[in-house]
């Protein structure tokens, strides 16, 4: 019963402070600090998520996918077409290959313009080129030597095995994701330090009030409760603002990525929008805990 009463008193005091503190300038500063920290945390945490999503997209879209680019070279048009048809037939008979797709001319230019964003450049690179996309059967890995042999008639042609460069790419994205998480951790640590410093600043500004309530019989827990309550209020205001700014930033980053041609690759998903809710709540809870610890430490040293 006493525990319930104490808990209710604690919760009540958290949302409605018993002692009103002096109006000092840091009461305006703190919500701004919390808003900036919240925004930084949202961006820092969404960075590795974005990289992972981009990586996932790259893996999904290239799994079991082989490509060959064949240049017309010095062959005559008719001879080239016949040989391509023959090649498609040969490749289609390979037991590991599910489908063979050929793109050339405008089809190829259109599909590559999405990636390069410039028609002139695509025409320059892909003029007179035929692209053959080979999709492997699920669970079957094609023998690259066989495929390479099949296209060997076209001297410059090479099977582009995504697996080769994907391995290097995945290694790079792994490092980038790791770096992203490190950055998020760094920002969180920085947030923790700033939170502790702002609470200390607040405590110093309110030393007159603290001394008096201490003299009137306030325990350390009671005094720290006042600061937890103030921190809770200011943190909630600040992190909510930070969350709105974070939402705006994510939308902005998505539109920039879309303009750059990374359609869908690193688009914000539900995980990033959950961050907008989790970061403010987490930061607020952390602030209250930090406020409690810093206040108790400060009070023990002071009195």
């Amino acid at each position: 019963m006493i525990r319930l009463r104490n808990t209710l008193f604690y919760l009540g005091s958290l949302f409605r402070p018993i002692v009103r503190l002096e109006r000092t300038p840091e009461r305006y500063l703190l919500p701004v600090v919390y808003a900036i920290l919240s925004l930084l945390c949202i961006l820092a945490c969404s960075l590795p998520i974005k990289i992972s999503r981009g990586e996932g997209y790259a893996v999904d879209s290239t799994d079991g996918h082989l490509v060959a680019h064949i240049a017309q070279g010095d062959m005559a048009n008719g001879e080239f077409s016949n040989k391509i048809f023959a090649l498609i037939k040969t490749l289609g008979q390979n037991e590991s290959i599910e489908t063979v797709e050929v793109s050339a001319g405008n089809d190829l230019i259109n599909s590559m313009t999405v990636l390069f964003g410039e028609v002139a450049l695509v025409e320059h690179l892909y003029g007179g080129i035929v692209r053959i996309d080979l999709i492997e059967k699920v669970g079957k890995e094609a023998n690259l030597e066989d495929l390479q042999f099949a296209i060997s008639e076209f001297h410059s042609a090479q099977i582009d095995d995504f697996r080769v460069w994907k391995k290097a790419g995945l290694k790079r994205t792994y490092h980038a994701t790791l770096l992203g998480y490190l950055f998020a951790l760094l920002v969180s640590l920085l947030a923790l330090v700033i939170l502790a410093l702002t609470v200390r600043l607040s405590l110093r500004m309110q030393s007159k009030t603290l001394n008096l309530i201490h003299q009137l019989g306030a325990t350390d827990s009671f005094s720290s409760l006042i600061f937890q309550s103030i921190t809770l209020q200011r943190s909630l205001i600040g992190t909510t603002i930070g969350s709105f700014l974070g939402a705006g930033s994510l939308v902005l980053i998505d539109s920039i990525l879309e303009i750059q041609g990374y359609v869908g690759a690193a688009h914000s998903g539900p995980a990033q929008f959950i961050l907008l809710l989790l970061v403010p709540l987490g930061l607020t809870a952390l602030s209250v805990l930090v406020a409690r610890q810093v206040a108790l430490q400060f009070l023990r040293k002071r009195h």
Partner: protein, 217 residues
């Protein structure tokens, strides 16, 4: 109630203000403490109220040695001590009503009945009209009365008052001391530090004179 043995105290290793002081205030007693400025009256009250720590000697309050009490116990002990500060120490950001109710709020014993009690007390000290005002809006005398109301609101077992009548007229000073007498009759131990020897004598209570950090018998 209060037993002081061989108490020596100095601020920051300067010249001692209290020098081997021995004193005894029995429970339910009423004492006046007089002496010239710098004689150690305020320092002694601050040590008894645990605002200053005992460095040398012993101070026992209500059977507890103040030097060995832990932080929680000291806080709980302070709740039983009412202190009228010389500089009032009202919180400027809180109304007079909130300031006076503060000791009750700290103990968690503040409800409708206590609100009524605080209002009546404020009316008794002549502050009925200013309960919603803030301390800077009040005169020195009014602030002092509010500080006195705050010190007695929780009906402390020990009341320490440092120059409680310094900023009020004679009539109000007499009323205040009568309030202290009333609390004393109710069992509260009262120690009043004052310069006003004439008024202290008129109450027919023991007067202790501090001089150069010692009791001048």
């Amino acid at each position: 109630m209060i037993r002081i043995e061989n108490l020596t105290f100095s601020y920051h290793d300067e010249k001692p203000i209290l020098k081997g002081l021995d004193l005894n205030f029995s429970a339910g007693s009423f004492h006046f403490l007089t002496g010239p400025s710098g004689s150690g009256k305020t320092t002694l009250l601050k040590i008894i109220s645990m605002e200053n720590s005992v460095k040398e000697g012993h101070v026992m309050v209500n059977g507890h040695d103040l030097a060995v009490l832990d932080r929680e116990a000291r806080a709980l002990m302070r709740r039983k001590v009412g202190f009228v500060f010389q500089d009032f120490r009202l919180l400027p950001q809180m109304t007079i009503l909130e300031n006076v109710a503060l000791p009750l709020r700290i103990t968690g014993a503040y409800g409708r009945a206590q609100y009524q009690q605080v209002s009546e007390l404020l009316a008794w000290v002549g502050l009925k009209e200013v309960t919603r005002k803030y301390p800077p809006e009040l005169s020195g005398g009014e602030q002092q009365r509010a500080a006195i109301a705050r010190a007695v609101v929780s009906r402390p077992v020990l009341l320490l008052a440092d120059e409680p009548t310094g900023s009020v007229d004679d009539a109000m000073a007499e009323r205040i001391l009568h309030l202290f007498m009333e609390l004393h009759r109710g069992g509260t131990t009262v120690v009043v530090a004052t310069h006003n020897l004439t008024m202290a004598r008129s109450f027919d209570r023991p007067i202790l004179k501090l001089s150069d950090g010692r009791v001048d018998h």
